[in-house]
Subunit: 128 residues, 2 copies
């Protein structure tokens, strides 16, 4: 496991810009350490970026992604906080389950659409 990654290494790996990574730092999503003014990203930052990209692909906003990331962190020490966090996690899970239903429905409709196209091709006597 490498100790540090430069900003451009990560922009290449995740196909994002330096502006984007600095923006995520401003937003508190990652906290690279500094050598002088230069940012050094640790493996944990890299993992966070991976989670951020996942969240983005799922259509979550930066704020929602921030919330989700906080859930992955070490659980709080106080009982009330713990129960609150469990509730939040359950909410996000319900959110994701809704997305999953949406996804399956959309996939099913696309399947149907493709079938119609293939049928039409067959009607036209095209060798599929």
């Amino acid at each position: 496991m490498r100790e540090y990654y430069s900003i451009t290494e990560l922009t290449r790996e995740f196909d994002i810009s330096t502006r984007t990574l600095r923006f995520y730092e401003d937003e508190g999503l990652v906290q690279p350490v500094r050598r002088g003014r230069t940012r050094l990203f640790r493996p944990s930052d890299r993992h966070l970026i991976r989670q951020i990209m996942r969240g983005k692909r799922l259509g979550f906003s930066i704020n929602e992604i921030r919330e989700i990331i906080q859930m992955y962190r070490a659980p709080p020490g106080e009982v009330g906080q713990l129960k609150l966090m469990i509730k939040r996690i359950e909410e996000k899970r319900e959110d994701l389950r809704q997305k999953r239903r949406d996804l399956e429905e959309t996939l099913a409709e696309l399947d149907q659409a493709e079938e119609s196209c293939v049928e039409r091709l067959v009607e036209l006597g095209v060798n599929t």
Copy 2:
């Protein structure tokens, strides 16, 4: 099956604003008929709105949603067009499959996070 829905009926049903529905009309996503200047939405428009909301929840942009909606429509008559459409559909499906992978991974991590919280509660001797 009802013949027409008013704009406010639909804003209530889908919890969106009239501005939003008019915006979708400007964008060509729905085409309600008019009685004078008043918009009358048909069941097909209602179904389209349902698909739009699904697309939005999945994080698709308006343009992407437009593309997807066009795929649901009657397949084109020309062979080249048909093959192109099948290719597009396959691309969207791949997109959705990626989203599904992201979704499952995120759900798995949330499961883990919740487990940590519950464990911590048990450590603290809380009756779950």
